[in-house]
């Protein structure tokens, strides 16, 4: 026999599913690409710049952290910071000053993730932490919406894109109300069709329910997200909104309007399903999803803000540990 080889001692199993965590994260990013392109199509070059600024903030922060703590594990490799940056950008209005988008990215990673101990240890969705920070610090900028663009205005910079940090924003910018704000403050409804295909004002990721849904279907089929969460959200939103309509169809928005407006699709498919901050049992995921859906309609209808997806998800994030412990499944062979 040929000389005995140098044998390696590792531990079983010796077979491994090919896909690793970075690959999973990359797939989620791929699923977002159509909606990203649509956002740029509808809101022009400003949208692209917002995305770039937010990603720089998020990835840069993680990078600086890696370097300054001399971690041997390079956490940029898992693509979670990139994903956080993109998701944060999609919750922002296209005309937001770029420095704010950048700052949001920094906060998303620093306060949303790193202080908890990095990927996997955070309780809240980092992108939403970044967004919540911006909303509380710059309530005006983050609710200043620009109308969707046509080709002529594609290269036009929206509102406050290049505002210098901490200088009062330019107030003459062209603004437009989002469908939810129109609904809340003017009682005006936007056609579901416009919501579905994207021609309405709003955050980058609020415009095209269709593309987000397609991304969600892809992720579900490939088992990258737990379909129970978005399904739970849709069911709760639909039922609650339908119930309200039964009470007064004039006063309350239709279930379809709720489903397709605002950040619901983005939140339900890409944010609530963030594995780290969602429950680890299937039953927990159902409750989590239903809870978010219920809170969204509650906040939108009875709260002071037109939109409630962000708070709904953050609130349910905070009860995730509780859901995990009360929904432990029965183990094999345990009494039924």
């Amino acid at each position: 026999m040929k000389t005995a080889p140098k044998l390696l001692l590792t531990s079983s199993p010796f077979l491994k599913q090919q896909e690793d965590t970075p690959a999973v994260m990359r797939q989620v990013i791929y699923a977002l690409i159509p909606a990203l392109i649509a956002a740029i199509y509808f809101f022009g070059i400003s949208a692209l710049l917002v995305i770039v600024a937010s990603v720089f903030g998020a990835v840069g922060t993680e990078w600086v952290f890696n370097i300054s703590t001399k971690k041997k594990f390079n956490s940029l490799k898992d693509y979670t910071a990139l994903l956080t940056g993109i998701l944060l950008a999609m919750t922002l209005p296209p005309g937001i000053p770029l420095w704010m988008a950048f700052l949001g990215g920094v906060v998303a990673i620093a306060l949303g993730k790193l202080i908890f101990g990095g990927t996997g240890s955070n309780i809240f969705n980092p992108a939403l932490v970044g967004r919540a920070f911006l909303q509380s610090s710059f309530p005006v900028a983050i609710t200043t919406w620009s109308p969707y663009a046509d080709f002529n205005s594609f290269m036009m910079f929206r509102g406050n894109t290049f505002t210098i940090p901490f200088v009062k924003a330019n107030t003459d910018a062209v603004t437009a109300a989002t469908p939810l704000a129109q609904m809340k403050f003017d009682g005006k409804l936007t056609e579901t069709q416009n919501l579905f295909f994207g021609s309405s004002a709003g955050s980058l990721g609020e415009t095209t329910a269709l593309l987000l849904l397609l991304g969600g279907v892809y992720l579900t089929v490939r088992n990258y997200i737990n379909w129970r969460i978005p399904t739970g959200i849709f069911i709760a939103v639909f039922l609650f909104a339908s119930g309200l309509q039964l009470i007064d169809a004039e006063k309350f928005a239709s279930p379809m309007f709720h489903l397709f407006s605002g950040g619901l699709m983005l939140g339900a498919i890409f944010m609530a399903t963030d594995p780290v901050s969602s429950p680890i049992t299937h039953k927990g995921c159902w409750i989590f999803g239903l809870g978010i859906g219920f809170l969204v309609v509650l906040i939108r209808t009875f709260g002071g803000l037109p939109e409630g997806v962000m708070y709904a998800i953050l609130l349910m994030n905070s009860v995730t540990p509780l859901l995990n412990s009360v929904t432990q499944p029965r183990i094999y062979g345990a009494a039924k």
């Binding site: 590792t10 079983s12 690793d20 594995p275 995990n324 183990i331 094999y332 062979g333």
Partner: protein, 450 residues
């Protein structure tokens, strides 16, 4: 997720679908390996107390002659797999990594090596206890890999009732085909073995569970069940770890073995198909367990094969017979890729529990980088006993072993499904094995102290 629509075959819940890699050897008939110059028979090849050696250095032994006796109820007899002389009794490398006292037999060059005691046994006129004792002294252990003494499971405890015998023909470990070949080539032995076990257990019915990646075995055994026997072949969906007793019982009978209990508590006894064939053979020819079928396979071996190997044959002889290892072979395992044990040394013997030798090359053994757990739930969906490996893994990492008890770590069957699916490459099952061993040690200490 919609697999229930496409597949109506029986199976258990959860589990994983690794590729089966059985094409390398599934069509290769069992071939007899020539006797080696020397055989090494470790006195401990089974779970339980080591056997007690009854030969001395210099003794002449005949093929099939007993050389070690059971040292208690959870122990077995051992026999000389070939005629020869006891050359020495000394500590030798064991495939479990330890040094174990072993009997070394040197081949008798002039012996014809035919079986010396070719006597059929009149099993029909023996009592259950006599049959059990014969099986114990015949040296039978589960040939599926765990090597638990066969007769122990056949002794039904007071107040329990064994209504069903399940023959484990699942062979869910990828790559391995030894049980598959035995089912195709030794059906007569299998059916005789089943008859004997049914008699011992007083069981009313038997089932042979086979995964549908062995359709030929399903058909062949199904068509050949003797008219007077009450049993059936159950075709199962191919899924890992269906060969685990508890999973097999769930798949075949839809019964769950209660946590901490044994199959007999749900009126079932499970035995591996190879073991049953061996028992049938013993009662047909009087030959105890002195050889077994081993699949030698994997990308790292020149000529994969299914070999009938005398127990104690040096691994190097087996590999050489198969053309040797390839240049880039990096790992040699005893057993399959999911639960097998890697060897650091090729100077070890084939054991009763050696179902396969898997040789893996550089390509398969790339070491993967570990990422943080993203709580993706894949391990939870894979675990056949519905544990939460993510949670358990986190506890193991921070050494909160006591806390793991609350999450039922002791019910883990160490199948490795969680590790297989984890995209973060967290060595979950490895941590669980260590944790369980530590916890057991602790419990033993407490028992002693308290």
């Amino acid at each position: 997720m919609l697999s229930f629509l496409s597949n109506t075959l029986k199976t258990f819940r959860h589990g994983i679908h690794p590729g089966d890699y059985k094409d390398l050897t599934r069509n290769l008939s069992i071939e007899r390996l020539p006797f080696s110059e020397e055989l090494t028979i470790p006195l401990s090849q089974h779970l339980g107390a080591p056997s007690k050696c009854i030969v001395k250095v210099g003794d002449e032994v005949k093929r099939g002659q007993i050389i070690a006796k059971p040292s208690g109820f959870v122990s077995i007899g051992q026999h000389a797999p070939m005629s020869g002389t006891v050359k020495s009794i000394e500590m030798r490398h064991h495939p479990n990594g330890k040094m174990v006292e072993s009997v070394i037999i040197k081949k008798d060059l002039f012996s014809p090596q035919t079986f010396y005691n070719e006597h059929a046994m009149d099993w029909e006129n023996l009592s259950a206890d006599e049959l059990i004792s014969l099986i114990q002294h015949g040296g039978f252990v589960g040939l599926g890999g765990a090597a638990f003494p066969t007769h122990v499971k056949l002794k039904t405890p007071e107040g329990k009732n064994a209504r069903f015998l399940i023959v484990n023909g699942v062979e869910c470990e990828p790559y391995l085909t030894s049980d598959h070949r035995v089912m195709l080539e030794q059906s007569e032995d299998i059916f005789l073995g089943i008859r004997i076990l049914l008699k011992i257990l007083g069981a009313e019915k038997f089932y042979i569970g086979i995964e549908n990646n062995k359709q030929d075995a399903i058909d062949f055994l199904g068509e050949n069940i003797p008219e007077d026997m009450n049993g059936e072949v159950v075709a199962l969906q191919t899924k890992y770890p269906q060969g685990a007793e508890k999973m097999l019982i769930e798949a075949v009978l839809k019964r769950e073995v209660p946590s901490g209990k044994l199959p007999i508590d749900v009126e079932v006894v499970v035995q591996n198909s190879g073991t049953i064939a061996g028992i049938g053979m013993m009662f047909r020819f009087g030959q105890p367990l002195i050889e077994r079928v081993v699949t030698i396979t994997g990308p790292g071996i020149e000529n994969p094969a299914n070999l009938l190997v005398p127990i104690g044959t040096p691994l190097t002889d087996v590999l050489e017979h198969c053309g040797g290892l390839k240049e880039n072979t990096r790992q040699v395992l005893f057993g399959g890729p999911m639960m097998g044990a890697p060897q650091s040394d090729l100077d070890v013997p084939i054991l009763k529990g050696t179902s396969g030798i898997l040789c893996l090359t550089d390509e398969e053994v790339t070491i993967k980088e570990e990422f943080p757990c993203i709580r993706c739930l894949r391990c939870v969906d894979a675990c056949p006993v519905y544990l939460n490996p993510s949670r358990l893994g986190a506890l193991a990492k921070t050494r909160e072993y006591e806390g793991m008890l609350d999450f039922h770590i002791m019910d883990c069957v160490e199948c490795g499904s969680c590790s297989y699916v984890c995209p973060s490459n967290i060595p979950l099952v490895q941590r669980f094995r260590v944790s369980k061993a530590l916890l057991r040690e602790q419990q033993a200490k407490q028992k002693k102290a308290g």
